[in-house]
């Protein structure tokens, strides 16, 4: 049973700076980390590995050469292998081009039964890449999965929030793609041994020429992206006129009482 986990390296969102006057996003002081949602997908894969002996987990990411660091962390957390999809020609890819590139690499490697990913990324927040990858691979997908109930060699059964907000259990043929919510599990810290090992392991690299015959230069990167960002606006910080009470409970409670009255709560 081969499981592939899609991970994205994102900047630590607490440390990204926004300059509303110049319309700039400064990531220079924000260290990179694995998208927190993807850690749940990775942990899920590792749990499946503990439950079944034949499971082999590969983490795949597309990004600049430094994203190799995230794959080493993925190894430390329990993945067996890491693949870095990196090429200057992949740069500037929107979700469509990114998904095509990932799908091409997945086809090239071949043989994956289950593809896991996080619900969305914290920087882009589109939640599009999972379903688009599934579409380009021609396999079914299920979003918002909170539990994997059963995994056999041909099928997967999951509990998920369905298209209309109900709780659904379903059975899908493999291969399939599943995006997991944060409720599925809690990521655990890697062991010291895995962490040390992760420095030595070999990370496989793939670039555009590795995907020859599957992906053309016109289908990837900025060239292959049907959506173009025309401009970025950084809205000024929202501020409200506030009335602040310091250690004056009565004044505060009276102010609240009038708001509650106005809104019909009391």
């Amino acid at each position: 049973m081969k499981i592939l986990v899609l991970i994205k390296e994102v900047p630590d969102m607490q440390k990204v700076e926004f300059d509303s006057e110049r319309g700039r996003v400064n990531r220079a002081n924000a260290p990179a980390e694995i998208n927190p949602f993807d850690e749940n997908a990775l942990e899920t894969a590792c749990e499946l590995k503990k439950a079944r002996e034949d499971v082999d987990v590969t983490a795949l990411t597309m990004g600049p050469p430094r994203a190799e660091g995230s794959l080493r962390i993925a190894y430390a957390r329990g993945a067996d292998h890491g693949i870095l999809l990196t090429d200057a020609k992949f740069g500037g890819a929107d979700t469509c081009a990114t998904s095509k590139t990932l799908a091409a690499a997945i086809r090239k490697k071949g043989g994956y039964d289950l593809i896991l990913c996080g619900e969305k990324s914290v920087d882009g927040d589109t939640a599009q890449v999972g379903a688009e990858v599934a579409e380009f691979l021609g396999i079914p997908h299920c979003y918002y999965v909170e539990k994997i109930d059963k995994l056999t060699s041909g099928h997967i059964e999951v509990t998920a929030e369905d298209l209309w907000g109900m709780k659904q259990t379903r059975r899908m043929p493999l291969p399939a793609l599943v995006s997991v919510t944060k409720n599925i599990t809690t990521p655990k810290l890697p062991t010291v041994r895995r962490r040390l090992e992760s420095r030595e392991i070999e990370i496989e690299r793939m670039n555009l020429s590795s995907l020859e015959d599957i992906l053309t230069p016109e289908e990837t990167g900025a060239k292959g992206s049907p959506t173009k960002v025309n401009k970025v606006v950084i809205p000024p910080e929202v501020k409200r006129e506030s009335v602040v009470f310091r250690e004056e409970p009565d004044g505060f409670m009276d102010a609240l009482a009038s708001v509650f009255l106005e809104k019909g709560l009391v």
Partner: protein
């Protein structure tokens, strides 16, 4: 001739039309007035949906693909049929609600049509060439990106409750065109469907949100009591979810839920940008924090600098009395 049709993908939720559909028809009509186009609607669902309502809201024509199988929440069935309908209709633009339905389906449809998709737009405008400028927040709502799609159809998902519903006018003509499904079976087997259960913080009018200012899990009862007294629900910031004190089901913020209640009471929440992104659109924001420099006070209408352990029981007591008066 160039097709200038703006198609709204209607969302039916177990046979009931989701209100985001009316919002999209409203916004679509505004855009169509600028592009010289018209708004149509594609409804894929079980039989018996009163789809003349979509016409009353201003969509014409309404394509209704009716089949029993669409009672099932099965992405593959919807995807196949929507893609086949869109290939026949050739709209210039497709608008979809950024609901669970839209988030799961739109990327597959865009992929199958080999076109661009912009997620979670908060506004749409028309440029001088009649193309649509899609505006969406990113980076925890800190930036607004203006995006254009170079392929057709231009596709976007739009956040729910971002626009007003289209006016209803029953004198509008009703043009409903029935479509035949291209496929009615998929490999997905739905084993059971039931209520999600638990608290839905996105639907509450009053939210009492707890943050790092709460030292132990047992203390959360202070926030819960106030929430109950005010007829609301308790929510929490990411810090408490990460600390294992509450379930992520009630997490408000960028990596949790976005909420827009009438009243939001932030207790012991400092107000990191990630949290603000999830609640800053609330009606009235009330902040309680012991640190007067906490950023939460910048977005608050009413603030209280002091100890939440003292003020919360006082509030509960006072408003319990007022409500039972």
């Amino acid at each position: 001739m160039k097709n200038n049709e703006i198609l709204v993908l209607a969302e039916q939720n177990y046979g009931k039309i989701h209100p985001v559909t009316y919002e999209l028809i409203g916004k679509g009509s505004e855009l169509a007035a600028k592009t010289g186009g018209f708004v149509s609607c594609l409804l894929v669902g079980p039989s018996g949906i009163p789809c003349e309502e979509l016409c009353y809201r201003g969509a014409s024509p309404v394509y209704y693909m009716e089949a029993h199988c669409f009672e099932n929440a099965d992405e593959m069935l919807f995807k196949e049929n929507i893609v086949s309908a869109l290939k026949d209709i050739h709209p210039q633009m497709v608008l979809i609600g950024a609901t669970t339905f839209g988030r799961s389906l739109a990327p597959r449809i865009a992929g199958a049509l080999n076109t661009g998709l912009t997620a979670d737009c908060t506004d749409l405008q028309v440029d001088e060439d009649g193309r649509i400028i899609q505006i969406r927040p990113a980076f925890s709502d800190n930036i607004l990106a203006h995006i254009k799609t170079v392929t057709d159809p231009q596709m976007a998902t739009i956040r729910y409750k971002e626009f007003n519903e289209a006016d209803r006018d029953t004198t509008r003509s009703v043009d409903i065109r029935k479509l035949t499904p291209a496929c009615t079976v998929s490999g997905i087997e739905i084993l059971s469907t039931q209520e999600l259960g638990g608290v839905d913080v996105t639907k509450a009018d009053v939210i009492v949100a707890a943050g790092r200012g709460f030292k132990k899990k047992e203390d959360l009862v202070l926030a819960e009591d106030l929430a109950k007294t005010l007829g609301g629900v308790m929510a929490a910031s990411r810090a408490l979810v990460d600390a294992g004190m509450v379930s992520s089901q009630i997490q408000v913020g960028y990596s949790g839920h976005r909420v827009k209640p009438k009243i939001y009471i932030a207790c012991g929440i400092s107000g990191a940008p990630q949290h603000l992104a999830g609640m800053k659109e609330s009606g009235t924001i009330i902040a309680i924090n012991s640190d007067p420099s906490a950023p939460i006070f910048k977005v608050a209408d009413i603030g209280y600098v002091g100890d939440l352990y003292e003020i919360l029981p006082m509030l509960t007591e006072r408003f319990r009395k007022e409500r039972t008066k």
